[in-house]
C-alpha cells in the first residue's frame, strides 16, 4: 500500500473565536486526484491555503496536522515553507488574469519562478519553459513566451499558469476553481489537459470546485465540505450514486441536467451558513430534510463506514434510501 | 448610509477643525487683547517671549501672537473654503458634462484641463495672482482656477465607471430619463472621491494662500493671515523664535488635521464594492 503524500489530520483553523475549518481529515496518495466540493463558505479554498500555510491575517491553525511526505508542515520554518511552495506543492487559482503581472512578459514571469527554485543557466531555463508550454499544448511556445498577459485569452493563460506550476516538477498540484472563470468549451479542454498532465507526470492533484461535473471528471475521491466541516468523503462513484449525507444528496439533486430535464429542480431551503454559525450541532441541520432533535444539540462525528466517511447520525438509514 | 468606520483620528482631526472654526469665530470675545487685531503698536511690549499673559509671546509691534493666530484663523479658513468652494463650483459642472455628455465636449474639457495641469502646481497661481493684482481675494481666485481641473478629472473618471453599472441600466430600462439618472444615481455615487479630495485640499489651499501671502501676492497688511505673519517674522525669528513658530505651528496642525479628516472621510465613504 503506497504511503500517503499528503495527510490532513483533524486540521482546525480559526479566526479569533470563529472556526473556519473544523477537524478536516483526509489524505492524498501519489498519482491520485482528490476533489474538494462545496459552496461559498464551505471552507474549501481555506483548506488549500492552510495546506500551504498562506493563511490571511488574523487566521491561525488551531489544531491538527498537515503531513506532507511524513513531516508536519506546521512544524517547518518559514524558509523551508518558501522552498516547498511551488517546488513541492504548486497551486493555480481561479482567475488567470489576476495571477499574472500585466506589465511583464510570460517569459519573464516564468523565469522568475524557475530561478527561485533551480540553479540552471539561461539556456536550460528557456528549454524548460518551452518543454512545459508544449506539455500544456500551447503550440507556438516562443510567441507565448514573448507575449504579455493581455494578449492571451483566458484559456491560454490558464494553460500558461498550469505550465508555470508544472515546470518546477512538483509532487502535488492544487487547483482552486481552475475552470470557473472560463467558458464552457475551454473548461472541457482544461479538464482534459489536467487529466493528461497528471497521467504523464504522476503527480498528485487536488481539485477544488463548486462544480460537481468538473470534480467528478478529474477526481478519484471526493471530499464534500459544508460550513467549514467535512460532510462526506468517498470514492467519486460512491459519492455520485450512493451518497449517505443529506447535503451531498441534496446538492447533487439540485443541479439542472441536460440529460434528464426536470420538471422542477430540487431545492435546499435556506442559505449556506456564515462562518461560526450555528454554534452547536450539525451545520446543515437548519436545512436538512432528515433532521432530528439530536442534530441541533450535537455535531455528528465523521463516521467510518466501509466505503468512506460521513458526518451524519443517520448515515446508516440513508444507505438504504 | 455611512457604515460605522469613523476612526478615532477622524474624530480627533475633525474635532480640532470645528474647534478652530469656533475659536476663529469667537476670537474677538475670547482674547484679552482684541484690539491687537489691527494696526496698533505697543512699543513697550514688543517681542516678549511666551509667558502667562502672552502664551504665544508678542510680535515686533507688541501685539499678542495668540490673538493674532486666532484672528488669522478666520482668513485662513475662509481662504480654504473659498479656494475649494470655487474650484468645486467650476470643476463639478465641467466634470459632469465631460463624463455624461462625452464625445467632443469631453475632449474639449479634458484638453482645457490638460493645459491647466501642465503648469507646475504653484506657478500658475503665482502668475494669476500677479496678473490679477495682489490681494487675498485674487489669491483665492488664482488658486481655485488653477485647481479645478483635478475635480473635473476625478468626477469624470468616477462617472465613467458608474454610468455602465447594471443598476443604471436597470433604471434606464424602467424608463428613467437622463436627468433622473444623473441626479439620483450617477452624481451621488460619483461624489465620494471628489469630497475626499476636497477635504484633503483644504489644507493645501491654506498652504497655497499662505505661500502667496508670503511672497506678497496674497493677503496684505493690515490683514492678519498666517502666511503673512510668517513673512513678517522673517526679520525677527532668528532671535525671537516665537514670532514664526506659532503661526507656523498653527498652519502645520491645521493642514495636518485636514489631511487626517480627508483620509478618515475616505474610509467612511468607502462602499467597498470595488474589489
Amino acid at each position: 500500500m503506497s504511503e500517503a503524500l499528503l495527510t490532513l489530520e483533524e486540521l482546525t483553523v480559526k479566526a479569533g473565536n470563529l472556526t473556519l475549518l473544523d477537524k478536516i481529515t483526509f489524505s492524498v496518495k501519489r498519482g491520485e486526484t482528490i476533489g474538494i466540493v462545496g459552496e461559498s463558505g464551505s471552507g474549501k479554498s481555506m483548506t488549500a491555503w492552510s495546506i500551504l500555510r498562506l493563511l490571511p491575517k488574523g487566521v491561525k491553525a488551531a489544531g491538527g496536522k498537515v503531513c506532507f511526505k511524513g513531516t508536519d508542515l506546521y512544524s517547518r520554518s518559514t524558509e523551508e515553507m518558501r522552498a516547498l511552495r511551488g517546488r513541492r506543492i504548486a497551486m493555480i487559482l481561479q482567475d488567470p488574469h489576476a495571477a499574472l503581472n500585466p506589465i511583464r512578459t510570460i517569459a519573464a514571469q516564468m523565469d522568475d519562478v524557475i530561478r527561485a527554485h533551480f540553479r540552471e543557466d539561461k539556456q536550460a531555463r528557456r528549454a524548460r519553459m518551452r518543454r512545459f508550454l508544449t506539455m500544456v499544448e500551447l503550440a507556438e511556445s516562443e510567441r507565448v513566451l514573448s507575449s504579455y498577459p493581455f494578449q492571451l485569452s483566458g484559456g491560454m493563460l490558464q494553460r500558461v499558469l498550469i505550465a508555470m506550476a508544472l515546470c518546477l516538477e512538483p509532487d502535488m498540484l492544487i487547483a482552486d476553481e481552475p475552470t470557473t472563470a472560463l467558458d464552457a468549451l475551454i473548461r472541457l479542454q482544461i479538464v482534459e489537459l489536467l487529466q493528461k498532465v497528471q497521467r504523464e507526470s504522476g503527480m498528485a492533484l487536488m481539485v477544488i470546485s463548486h462544480d460537481f461535473g468538473v470534480v467528478s471528471k478529474l477526481a478519484g475521491h471526493i471530499v464534500v465540505m459544508y460550513g467549514g466541516r467535512m460532510a462526506e468523503y468517498a470514492a467519486t462513484g460512491e459519492i455520485l450514486e450512493h451518497s449517505r449525507h443529506p447535503y451531498t444528496r441534496a446538492l447533487l439533486k439540485s443541479r439542472p441536467s441536460v440529460k434528464h430535464v426536470a420538471e422542477r429542480l430540487y431545492t435546499i431551503p435556506g442559505t449556506p451558513p456564515k462562518a461560526g454559525e450555528p454554534e452547536k450541532g450539525c451545520k446543515f441541520e437548519p436545512r436538512c430534510p432528515f433532521r432530528a432533535g439530536r442534530c441541533r444539540r450535537e455535531a455528528p462525528p465523521l463516521y467510518e463506514h466501509g466505503r468512506g466517511r460521513v458526518a451524519c447520525f443517520f448515515h446508516e438509514d440513508l444507505k438504504n434510501v | 448610509m455611512f457604515r460605522n468606520r469613523y476612526t478615532k483620528t477622524f474624530y480627533l482631526s475633525s474635532g480640532y477643525l470645528l474647534l478652530l472654526a469656533l475659536l476663529a469665530l469667537l476670537a474677538g470675545g475670547l482674547t484679552p487683547y482684541p484690539q491687537d487685531a489691527g494696526n496698533v503698536m505697543h512699543f513697550t511690549e514688543r517681542l516678549l517671549p511666551p509667558s502667562l499673559s502672552h502664551p504665544f509671546g508678542t510680535d515686533s509691534l507688541g501685539r499678542d501672537i495668540l490673538t493674532l493666530v486666532l484672528f488669522g484663523a478666520r482668513l485662513s479658513l475662509m481662504a480654504a473654503l473659498g479656494v475649494v468652494g470655487l474650484a468645486l463650483v467650476i470643476g463639478i459642472p465641467l466634470g459632469l458634462l465631460a463624463g455624461l455628455k462625452g464625445r467632443w465636449l469631453d475632449d474639449l474639457i479634458m484638453r482645457v484641463c490638460d493645459v491647466f495641469l501642465a503648469f507646475p502646481p504653484l506657478l500658475l497661481p503665482v502668475i494669476l495672482a500677479a496678473a490679477l493684482g495682489p490681494n487675498l481675494k485674487n489669491a483665492i481666485i488664482a488658486v481655485a482656477v488653477s485647481w479645478f481641473p483635478w475635480y473635473t478629472r476625478i468626477l469624470r473618471a468616477q462617472i465613467l465607471t458608474v454610468r455602465h453599472l447594471p443598476y443604471i441600466t436597470a433604471a434606464r430600462s424602467a424608463g428613467a430619463s437622463d436627468i433622473w439618472l444623473m441626479w439620483r444615481h450617477i452624481l451621488p455615487n460619483s461624489m465620494a472621491p471628489v469630497l475626499v479630495q476636497a477635504t484633503l485640499d483644504m489644507g493645501y489651499a491654506i498652504l497655497a494662500v499662505a505661500g502667496l501671502s508670503f511672497i506678497g501676492f496674497g493677503a496684505r497688511p493690515p490683514a492678519i493671515e498666517w502666511g503673512l505673519m510668517i513673512t513678517a517674522s522673517r526679520a525677527t525669528f532668528l532671535d525671537f523664535w516665537w514670532t514664526a513658530f506659532f503661526p507656523g505651528l498653527a498652519l502645520f496642525i491645521t493642514v495636518f488635521a485636514f489631511n487626517l479628516s480627508g483620509e478618515g472621510l475616505k474610509k467612511i465613504l468607502a462602499t467597498g464594492d470595488e474589489s
Binding site: 439542472p256 430535464v261 431545492t267 435546499i268 | 433604471a171 424602467a174 467597498g272 464594492d273
Partner: protein, 257 residues
C-alpha cells in the same frame, strides 16, 4: 412553433459592429429571432458570442446598424425616445451580478419602488403595497427590504432584481446569466422561482446563458450563438438531443455530467 400567436418580440437580420483599435469588429451577424408570449427562448453563448450586444439591441438600449426589432408588431429599434420609454415599461431586465444591480446607497425598498416612481404610479401607499406584494412573490421577506445591498446575500439580491424587473407587470423579461454568480443550491431556488413566476404572471423570457444545463431546464426553444452568428436554433428538446451543429454538440459535451 405556433403561427397563430403573434410574436411578442421579433428581430430581423440584426447586425452590429464596433470600431476598436483592431479595426471594425462585427459583434452580430444578421441575427433573427422570435419570442412568443409565455415561452422562454434560451440563448446559448459564450463570451465573445455577441449575446451582450444582442441583449442591448433587443432591449432598445442601443440602435442596430442593420436590421430591426419589433415589439408587439411595432418597430422599437431606432425609435424616438418616447416610444422607447413606452417599450421599457413593458420589459424587465435581470443582470448577472446581483451586487452591481442595485444602487449601494439605497435600501432595497427604494430600489424596488423606483420603477413605480419613474412612471408616476399611484400614491405612496399604493406603491408600497405593490412593492410588498411583488417582494412576497419573489420570496423576499418584508424585513429584508429595509436593508442595503451590502447587507444581503447574492441569492436575496437576485430575488430583489427579479422583483424589480416584474414590478411594472411587463410581458417580457430579459435575463442575462442571472444565476452565473450564485451557488448551486441558490441557483436551483432562483430557477424554480423563475419558472413559477412565468406561469403566474404569464411572462416571456429571453434567457442568455453559457450554461446549457440551465437553459435545458427553462427554455422552450434554444438558439446557439457563436461569434455573432446563429449556429443553430429550434425547440429545446431537439437542440439538446439531436443537435446537428458541431459547435452545439461541443457545448453540450462541456456540460460534463
Amino acid at each position: 412553433m405556433s403561427d397563430q400567436k403573434e410574436a411578442l418580440l421579433r428581430a430581423v437580420a440584426l447586425s452590429q459592429s464596433y470600431s476598436s483599435k483592431h479595426g471594425r469588429i462585427r459583434a452580430l451577424n444578421s441575427v433573427s429571432l422570435e419570442l412568443y408570449p409565455g415561452e422562454t427562448l434560451g440563448i446559448a453563448g459564450e463570451s465573445g458570442s455577441g449575446k451582450s450586444t444582442l441583449l442591448r439591441l433587443l432591449s432598445a438600449l442601443e440602435p442596430p446598424h442593420e436590421g430591426e426589432v419589433r415589439f408587439e408588431g411595432k418597430i422599437i429599434s431606432g425609435a424616438p425616445v418616447n416610444e422607447r420609454r413606452a417599450y421599457y415599461k413593458r420589459i424587465g431586465i435581470v443582470f448577472q451580478q446581483p451586487r452591481l444591480s442595485f444602487d449601494p446607497r439605497w435600501t432595497l425598498f427604494r430600489s424596488l419602488e423606483e420603477p413605480l416612481q419613474i412612471n408616476r404610479f399611484g400614491s405612496p401607499g399604493e406603491r408600497r403595497a405593490l412593492v410588498l406584494e411583488t417582494a412576497e412573490k419573489t420570496g423576499l421577506d418584508e424585513e429584508l427590504l429595509n436593508r442595503y445591498p451590502s447587507q444581503l446575500s447574492g441569492g436575496q439580491l437576485q430575488r430583489a432584481a427579479i422583483a424589480r424587473a416584474i414590478i411594472l407587470k411587463p410581458r417580457l423579461v430579459f435575463l442575462d446569466e442571472p444565476t452565473a454568480a450564485l451557488d448551486v443550491s441558490i441557483q436551483a431556488q432562483i430557477l424554480n422561482l423563475l419558472k413559477d413566476l412565468q406561469k403566474l404572471e404569464g411572462l416571456a423570457y429571453l434567457f442568455v446563458s453559457h450554461d446549457i444545463s440551465v437553459l435545458a431546464y427553462l427554455a422552450t426553444r434554444i438558439m446557439v450563438l457563436k461569434n455573432g452568428t446563429v449556429m443553430e436554433s429550434g425547440p429545446a428538446k431537439m437542440i439538446l438531443n439531436e443537435a446537428g451543429n458541431a459547435y452545439t454538440r461541443t457545448l453540450l459535451a462541456s456540460a460534463m455530467e
